[in-house]
């Protein structure tokens, strides 16, 4: 067995907030504060999750040289490709809640 990449992906998907962040960013890039509001995650948790998703190649951090500072996060193509998977969970939950 040892389907390593699959299990790594599932592990991250199962962590607190990953699903919410993905769902939010599928509608387009967002700033840290916006993500915080829509996902209702503590800054610490959101920060950790974004770092993990970055390390996973799911998210890209883009910093703008402005005042006040502005940072946006957007999904990589690999993360966008997770959408069918999200739809599958949602469809499942709809049926078997």
């Amino acid at each position: 067995m040892t389907s390593e990449p699959i299990e790594t992906a599932l592990a991250l998907l199962g962590r607190q907030g990953t699903y919410r962040v993905l769902r939010a960013l599928l509608d387009g890039p967002m700033r840290f504060g916006e993500l915080q509001g829509v996902t209702r995650l503590l800054p610490r948790t959101l920060s950790l999750r974004l770092k993990e998703m970055d390390a996973m190649g799911w998210v890209v951090r883009e910093q703008f040289a402005e005042v006040p500072p502005r940072v946006e996060y957007r999904l990589t193509p690999a993360a966008v490709a997770l959408e069918p998977l999200l739809r599958a969970v949602e469809a499942w939950a709809e049926e078997h809640a």
Copy 2:
């Protein structure tokens, strides 16, 4: 937000061994020992996972009055309905490993 059932399902899917157990049982019912062999999980971990999957309504434990004792685990229809989801992760991993 608060898509509770979705996140609960994802959380369990992300735990150690859940994917392996699901994949194994999709081929038909199996005994504890067989599951242990094919998933290569410690008895403790496998036991915990099966209990959680049971509580989740994904798995049914069937005990036979035999000597030596025989116990089989099989998936519920709700768990079988997760297969498209598993295929989606596998397809994703295939593309974006």
